[in-house]
Amino acid sequence: MELIVKHADGDTKVKIDRRGAEYQLQIGDQSYVILSAEAANGVRSLLVDGGQYEVSVRSLGEDRYEVTTTAGAATVQVQDPLTQLAEVAHEKQGGTGRQRVAAYMPGRVVSVLVAEGEAVTAGQGLLVLEAMKMENEIQAEQAGVIAKLHVTPGQAVDRGDPLFELEPAGQPDRGAGGQV
C-alpha cells in the first residue's frame, strides 16, 4: 500500500506492508523492517534497525494524526494517492482564493486593528486575542485586503470560529489563470 504522509515541511511517500506484527516500509530508497507493539493509550513500541522508540499516535480525524516522539509532537496527515489526486486537481483549477482565518484556540477578542476593506501588508497585526491571561496578536500571512471581519472587540470565540477573511493581493489575476 502506498501512502503520502504530509508534514508541515513537506510530503513523504511511503510504501508499507504488514505481515503480522512485522511491517515492511519503504521511504525513498530506505527500507525498514519494523516490529510494533501497542502499549496503552495510543502508545507504541517500535523496533527499527536495532533501536527501540516509544511513539504515541493520536487520531485527530480526517486522516490527521498527532505523533509524539521524544522530540515532541507533530501533526501530520496521511493520504492514499487517490485522495491526493483529488486535492491536486482542485488546486490546479484555481480553488485557492480568499483566505479565511479561524481562531486556533478559544479566547476573547481584545481589539480589532483593521477595518473591512483595508489593505494590509504581510505581518501586519490584524487583531488581538486573549487566552490564558496572555494577549496574542494575529498577523496577516500575506498582503491583501480585509474582505470580511467576523468578530468585534470583547467577543468570545471558540476554536475554529471564523475571525476574518483576507483577499490576497493579486488574487483575481491568479484566479483567472494568469501568472503573477
Binding site: L46, V48, V67, V76, D80, M105
Partner: protein, 508 residues
Amino acid sequence: MADRPKVLEKVLIANRGEIAVRVLRALRELGRRSAVVYSDADRASLPVLLADEAHRIGPAPSAESYLRAEAIVELAREIGADAIHPGYGFLAESARFAALCGAAGVKFIGPPPAAMAAMGSKIESRRLMIAAGVPVVPGGEDPLASPAEAAAAAAAIGYPVMLKAAAGGGGKGMRLVRDADGLAAAYRAARSEARASFGDDAVYLEKLVERPRHVEIQILADEHGNVVSLGERDCSLQRRHQKVVEEAPSPAVDAPLRRRMSEAAVRAAAAVGYANAGTVEFLLAPDGDFFFLEMNTRLQVEHPITEMVTGIDLVRWQLAIAEGRPLAEELDDVEIRGHAFEVRLYAEDPYRNFAPSPGRIERLRLPQGPGVRNECGVYEGEAVTIHYDPLLAKLVVWGADRGQAMERLDRALSELRIEGIRTTAPLFRALLADADFRRGVVDNDMLDRKLAAGELTPTRSALQRELTTIAAALEHLDRHGRRAARSLARGRRDHWRGAGRREALRGT
C-alpha cells in the same frame, strides 16, 4: 502575636492548580483538615479531588471567583476554617485581603498586612531598605536640573549609568551612558524625548547593572522577631520577565557572598517586621555587587528547589509560624546539600512563539525515579482552560552536584509526556544542550537574546521526522488498511469528495 501555639485545625486554600496541591499535601501530612475553593471551571480539578472539602466560589473568571476577597473570608468563617493559605498570585500579596482575614478572626498564612504594604510600594520599600543598610541600585528618582548636576550624580555612583524619564516607561526617554564624555548629549536627548513623550522632561539616573543575574534569598521569620536565611536561588533564566528555570545554589554565589546576601535579606525582612516565608530578590552584578529589587511577601513558585537542597519543608514552616511557633534552632545554620533545578511546564507552544495551548491533556506521564519531584496541578484527561495562568506543573530535580542535576533533568524530560496540548518542555531540552547554560554562565536577558537569535528553537532531527512518518503510516494502515483497499474500487467518489470540498471553500 500569639503567645502560645494555636493549632490551625482546618485551613482554607484560596488558590488553584499546582500550588493548591502543594499546600494540600502539607496539610494532609500534618493531619489538618484542608478545604479548597473552586471556580466552575475547576470543579473536577486535581486540588478538588485531593481536598477534604471543596467549596464553590464563583464562575470561571478570576475576578468572579479566586479574587473575591470578601467572599473567601466569609466562606472561611462559614466553614469554620482557622486560617487561609493564599498560595501565590491571586490574593497572596494583597495587604487588604490579609487585613480582611485578620478582622474576621481568620489567620492569614503570611506576613502582617503592614509588612506586605511596605514591601508592596516601590518607593517606600527602597527608602526602608536604604535605612536598613540593604544595598539598592545607586541613583535615585530626584530630577536632575542640568548636565552638570547629572555629571556629578553619575560620577558619584560610577559609570555606566542609565538616564530615565521620571514620568516614563516603555523605554522612552531612556539613555544608556557609558562614560562622562557622552553624558551631556545623552542628558539633552533624554529630556527632549521625555518632553515629547510624556509632556514632562524630568529625568533621573541610576547605575546600570550590566548582565545581571536574578538571585533571591529565601527567608523564614517567626512571630517572635527571629529571621533566618535558607540560602539563594538563581532565577536568571527568564522569558519576558517570567521565570522559566531556577536553580539552587546559584553557580555565581560562593559561601562568603551567600553570607553577605543572606545578612542583607534578613535585615530587609526585619526592617518591615516580617513574619512567615518570604523572598528577597536581588540583582547580582558580575563583580559580586548585589542590589535589592523587591521582596515577595509569600511562598514563591520556585520554593521547592530550596527544599531540595536544605531538606526543609517551607509550607510546614509557614503553618508552624502562623501557629505562633518559634523557628527551630537547627534552621540557624542549614547546610546546602547538592544541587536542584526547577523547570516550569507552561501550556505554551515553544515552536509557535509560546502561544497559549489550552485543550484536553490526552496523555500525561510524569517522570519518576531518583532525584525527581513533580509538583503537578493537573491530571491525564483534564481539560486545560483559557481562564488562568498557564503553569501546569513544575519538574524539580536534585543531584549530588550541578552536573548530575543537569543529567537528571535531561533524563526526566526524556520520560515526560504531555500530549494533546503543547508545553514548554522542548525548550528545556534545547537549553540543556546550550553551552552557556551548561557552564552556568547566564544573565537575566540571556534567554530572550537566544530565543530572538533562534538559538534555542527546539529542532526535530531527521530520525525523529522519519519516526513520525513511520508511526503515522503504521497507525493509518492499522486503522484504514481495509477501507483503503475498498477505496480503490470507488475512485470516482473520492473525486466527488474533492469537488465537495472545493464548493465549500468557494462558499466562504
